[in-house]
Point group: C2
């Protein structure tokens, strides 16, 4: 009987396997990257003794102006790392404003993830490493030592699309133990996104946990839908398997999602203890999700007391035929006449939809439809959408 | 008024941004990798026109024997890709057995993820790309067109550890609409794992959905705990922030998790409609989680009718002091005498814990304690743990 195998032996063996695996898969690196320094500068390290150049590209670096066939865009900047005697390349940024940032390395011209950073987020078809600098709004995006809500991925029936569809639902701390009815924010993603976008890149559960703990937001349920009605679920979460995602999907802006949105509401109001009335409903979204929020709240013009348009697209294409887009002015006027508590518009000064939003505000002004307007720096980026969510949520259900 | 901005313009602009982002971050690649061919061979592609060599390493390649200071291990093999005229490197594997596989590229000696594959899974401190070959057991790991359960991340109170702790809970299709009480499988991870391990690498929700749909498993709740009681939650999910995970954590095998496991049970039986009795409880785990399952089920010797030890560590270190490990033989005998329906042991022939498990079976034989034994090919790997889960679950709650 050799039952008393030493725990140390077991540890060494298991660690041995792990060290081996790391050596085999990740070049035996045992370095810290990224390291957030006390002054909020950030040091990045990459082990590549034989590389000729290692660069970093990310949204925390001064943007590069890149001219495409459609115009000039601000892109993430690049910086060169410096190699030490051990073959470890490193770069330390300027002190950074508090935020969540994304980056990648470029090793001899080939883009690479950071093997020392396990925190990655998918945005459409791209995966990038992320890090959070605290001390400001980034503190809202970090998990803090506060009560935490629950996050559930589940499936609901959408008869209007003849399919079961996946949805991500945040319930606030205390929901399960309570007997109260909670208000609901429907939170919609942009083009190429899905029911994982707001919870991952949007840091929705962290923002809600933190705002609720600070007493700045009412406890609420947040329903993060999938606005691509041709999809049952996010890439990898449906019977389509582990396919390569793409940006262009059919039926995203043709009225079908707006028309069938009542399927989502019915599911939520049947399945959760919610305030199933206009006072208890908010809808907001980014880009295409802002477009959806605009049209859903207008097409169902007495359904939501709170509407948020974050860097929203506004008008449908002339060629799109859907009853949802007929009678635009009449339904918008009906929404106005029915009354609401908040119609919130946020956009960045360099957003490519800035002019479109300016025109839409002029239209609202012309018809006397009240709204709250927030203009920020920057463009069509997640940095802004996290800010808009953080500013919008405290205004709800008061 | 220029409200009628063309949807095409918007699309082009948004796509432009995206294409730009991909170009900036991922070298403008627009290729498919991995591609699973009709004969279940798999083609991998990597765009690196200026690289001298591109290799692939993964667990689907013939293993390499690697000698470490602790002995010889089977490691993932390597293969060389071949460059075409466009600078795209590619490699096609042999037809592969149906399974979930992991891989990485090695570009001029530097390990890289696959920029064309967004499906990655973290295992402790490593992230690798994954793919699934169907047509066999891999079909259990893929999302199929069947009813889907819900997966919730939530927090429970553990007074025994003086903290709130995070847990992942699978509820089967129909749970929310039902009034039935459901049995519960407590499913425990190995060293370096956490409450994300079984749901990600273990494909638990897919396996359960599929086995239930096939009528092979009873609908059950699966509770995936965090067995590292020094941790509130998985890396990145606690107030510790986005730190670099490591394998070695305190208090993982010192009796504290076993002792305080009743906190988890109390929470589950208070919060869910469950069969709160021995007949309705199963516990199983891999490696360290098998060790935990053995000791929890013995220390609370009349609590579980079903126990699963998957590649389990068995005995504590001589130096560890905990009341949980006192009276081992007496409590094991008490567990036997109290009766149970299944004591299931699974291990691979080349697992480094094989001999330990052989010795433990001899001990059980010696005391007349009945068990079911399954011996597979292979070692201490997730391939086996998914198989063990798939074989164990149909035996429960019949």
């Amino acid at each position: 009987m050799k039952l008393k195998i030493s725990i140390t032996t077991i540890l060494v063996l298991i660690l041995g396997l792990n060290i081996y695996a790391q050596q085999a898969l990740f070049g035996g690196q045992n370095i810290v990257s990224p390291e957030i320094n006390s002054d909020n500068s950030v040091t990045f390290r990459f082990n590549a003794p034989n590389a000729d150049t290692v660069k970093i590209t990310g949204d925390f670096l001064p943007p590069e102006k890149i001219k495409t066939q459609w115009g000039i865009f601000d892109g993430p900047g690049k910086a060169l790392l410096k190699k030490d005697a051990n073959g470890i390349w490193s770069f330390t940024s300027q002190p950074l404003e508090s935020d969540l940032y994304s980056y990648s390395f470029i090793v001899d011209g080939v883009t690479n993830t950071d093997p020392n950073n396990v925190y990655m987020i998918r945005d459409v078809a791209s995966i990038t490493d992320v890090f959070i600098v605290g001390g400001g709004k980034g503190d809202l995006y970090n998990v803090q030592d506060v009560p935490h809500g629950s996050v559930t991925r589940r499936w609901y029936d959408s008869p209007g699309n003849d399919m079961k569809r996946r949805v991500t639902i945040y319930t606030p701390p205390g929901y399960e133990e309570s007997k109260d009815k909670y208000p609901v924010l429907y939170l919609l993603h942009g083009m190429g996104g899905d029911e994982e976008a707001w919870i991952a890149l949007g840091r929705t559960s962290q923002i809600l946990d933190n705002l609720i703990a600070q007493g700045k937001a009412e406890p609420m349920i947040v329903v993060m839908t999938n606005g691509n009605v041709a999809q049952k679920a996010a890439p990898g979460e449906s019977p389509k398997g582990l396919y390569k995602p793409n940006m262009q999907l059919p039926h995203t802006m043709d009225g079908k999602f707006e028309e069938t949105f009542t399927d989502v509401i019915k599911f939520v109001e049947k399945s959760y203890r919610v305030q199933a009335n206009k006072e208890g409903r908010a809808i907001a979204g980014l880009s295409m999700g802002g477009y959806h929020s605009l049209h859903i709240s207008r097409y169902h013009p007495n359904t939501f007391d709170y509407v948020g348009l974050f860097s929203a697209a506004i008008m449908p294409n002339d060629g799109v035929k859907s009853k949802v887009y007929e009678n635009f002015d009449e339904t918008l006027k009906a929404q106005m006449d029915n009354g609401y508590k908040l119609y919130w518009i946020g956009i960045g000064k360099t957003d490519f939809l800035y002019q479109t939003n300016t025109d839409y505000r002029a239209k609202l002004d012309g018809m006397g439809m009240k709204y709250t307007y927030v203009e920020t720096e920057g463009g069509h980026v997640w940095t802004n959408w996290r800010i808009y969510l953080s500013e919008f949520v405290p205004l709800l259900f008061k």
